[in-house]
């Protein structure tokens, strides 16, 4: 049992590294995955009998390497016999004849190549996410399918398609050159953040599995930081996710969404907060601000407020202003308007939000209506607030968020009818 657990732990931690190295050697994702799986299977049968090796990670790497050599030899024999399969072979990358015996075993980390290839912009987002989790994350296809609430064949199909495109269109297995690095890194960060958000959106009944996605995204961001520690946005992304994640336990109560304002702050994970803030400090020292660092800075201001009323809203407004300079999106402007409502008064906030509404860009964004409703609620204009909650409900899809909006709507409707009754009373 202990040996089994050890094998699983080592596999979880090392499989990304092993696969990354075997892909470089063999030029094939499938071969690398198969060999790594076979090595894991070998560990599961060998370790309980002969004991856990003194260096389990090296054992696993060596075993996977041998499995790959066996595989290629097997394939060569078959190929020699059947010249007819030439067509298939031609489709492979030129590196399909690896010089296996010459490969040193513990080269610098190949995971960097792997992460850039998995997140290559010529692959669609779904494929990028699936492939990153499968290869770097070491998650199985059923695990990924479960986490994304998708049927297994759908996910398997995405993986096959992405791998085939890499192979057939010759997407290089390389760290991009300096001139295209910034653009390509943005794609990698976006994939990791998407995995995190997928796990962070509260979904009833699926809590555990989804928490795994958050943990996996944080783990991937740690790998990215380890590999490229001088990229401030890598640090910003990791800090942002840690700070968000620190509030996970407080975000829901009895299956219901709890707003930041109403959260029990004693449930926040102080270790994650401290780590997030320390990483953000390291990022600042690199003197190149970016969207993830700014969002992390906003999150940190929430984290350090002892209670909601002590939140430094003017500072948050200022940071949203900076963020808008880098990313002039209406969503950023909406968030800033909400912060303005909290710092300069609800009436001013409402004026900003209505100004934003004029362009029509946010009409189909449920959080626009929810934010507007919330400010109207605070302004004690329940009838108008109810109307905005209804608009939000028409657009929101997540069940926990819908339940929250319904509760708020009911509250507003009760207030409205009570007021009307009150008015009736006055007339008599």
């Amino acid at each position: 049992m202990e040996a089994r657990l050890a094998a699983e732990t080592v596999f979880r931690e090392e499989s990304g590294k092993i696969i990354a190295s075997l892909i470089r050697i063999s030029g094939s994702f499938d071969r690398a995955e198969d060999a790594t799986q076979e090595a894991f299977a070998a560990a599961l049968t060998t370790w309980p009998k002969s004991g856990i090796p003194s260096n389990p990670a090296a054992w696993m790497m060596t075993a996977a390497h041998r499995k790959l050599i066996d595989q290629v030899r097997r394939d060569r024999t078959v190929r020699d016999k059947e010249d007819a399969v030439r067509y298939e072979i031609e489709a492979f990358a030129p590196s399909s004849e690896p010089n296996l015996e010459d490969e040193p075993m513990h080269l610098p980390d190949d995971r960097l190549r792997l992460i850039f290839t998995c997140c290559h912009p010529a692959l669609n987002r779904e494929g990028q996410v699936a492939l990153t989790l499968r290869t770097l994350g070491g998650l199985t296809t059923p695990e990924i399918a479960k986490a994304f609430l998708l049927p297994e064949p759908t996910l398997a199909q995405r993986l096959v398609r992405a791998k085939r495109k890499i192979q057939e269109a010759h997407i290089p297995y390389e760290v991009p050159p300096p001139e295209s690095l910034p653009e390509r890194l943005v794609s990698v960060q976006a994939v990791i953040y998407l995995i995190f958000n997928e796990g962070y959106v509260a979904a009833s009944g699926e809590m555990l599995i989804r928490t795994d996605l958050c943990a996996e995204a944080i783990r991937l961001a740690r790998v990215l930081r380890e590999l490229m520690p001088k990229e401030p946005e890598n640090l910003g992304l990791l800090a942002l996710m840690l700070l968000h994640d620190s509030r996970r336990a407080a975000r829901t109560r009895e299956g219901k969404l709890v707003t930041l304002e109403e959260q029990d702050r004693s449930l926040w994970d102080q270790n994650e907060i401290a780590e997030g803030i320390a990483i953000l400090d390291d990022a600042w020292k690199l003197r190149q601000i970016g969207p993830y660092q700014l969002q992390a800075a906003i999150s940190a201001l929430h984290s350090t407020a002892k209670k909601s009323a002590e939140t430094d809203w003017p500072q948050i407004v200022a940071i949203y202003g900076k963020l808008f300079e880098l990313n002039p999106s209406p969503v950023v402007a909406l968030n800033q308007a909400v912060a303005i409502a909290m710092s300069s008064g609800f009436a001013e906030g409402l004026r900003r939000i209505d100004l934003l509404g004029e362009s029509g860009e946010l009409t189909n964004y449920y959080l626009f209506h929810a934010a507007r409703a919330d400010i109207l609620r605070r302004l004690q204009r329940p009838a108008e607030a109810a109307e905005s909650y209804r608009s939000a409900l028409e657009l929101a899809t997540n069940e926990i968020e819908r339940a929250f909006l319904r509760d708020r709507l009911k509250g507003m409707e009760n207030l409205t009818s009570r007021r009307n009754h009150g008015a009736d009373g006055d007339n008599f």
């Binding site: 031609e90 489709a91 010529a122 494929g127 057939e168 269109a169 997407i171 290089p172 991009p176």
Partner: protein
């Protein structure tokens, strides 16, 4: 006058090898005949659209998309065949190719050719 012949067909990933071979032979017959009569310029099969990458220009910004994404109002206007190191190299070339007269609207669809199939 030189003419270009664009071959359109339904993609069938699970096509059986025998059919594939017979279609290939028919192509070869046409090519051979064209060569004998001195009119042959070139002909190549493309890999399926699942291997396609589109480079689209939007207000000076260039965007990469996974797949073939020409819009219905956009018509095929020309082609290049370039021998590139890999897809990244091909994408760099695609970015240089002008795609339209009206404010640069348009896109380049990159499709790999089947290496070593016809030569």
């Amino acid at each position: 006058m030189r003419y270009m012949f664009l071959v359109y067909s339904v993609e069938s990933p699970d096509i059986d090898p025998a059919t594939l071979q017979s279609v290939g032979e028919k192509h070869r017959e046409v090519m051979n005949e064209a060569a004998q009569r001195g009119v042959f310029e070139s002909a190549e099969p493309l890999k399926p659209t699942t291997t396609a990458t589109t480079v689209r220009s939007n207000n000076g910004q260039q965007q990469l998309l996974d797949g073939p994404f020409a819009e219905t109002k956009e018509q095929l206007a020309g082609y290049y065949i370039l021998n590139c190191k890999d897809l990244d190299d091909a994408i760099e070339w695609a970015k240089k190719i002008p795609t339209g007269c009206k404010g640069g609207e348009g896109c380049i669809e990159i499709r790999p050719l089947h290496e070593g199939l016809t030569h």
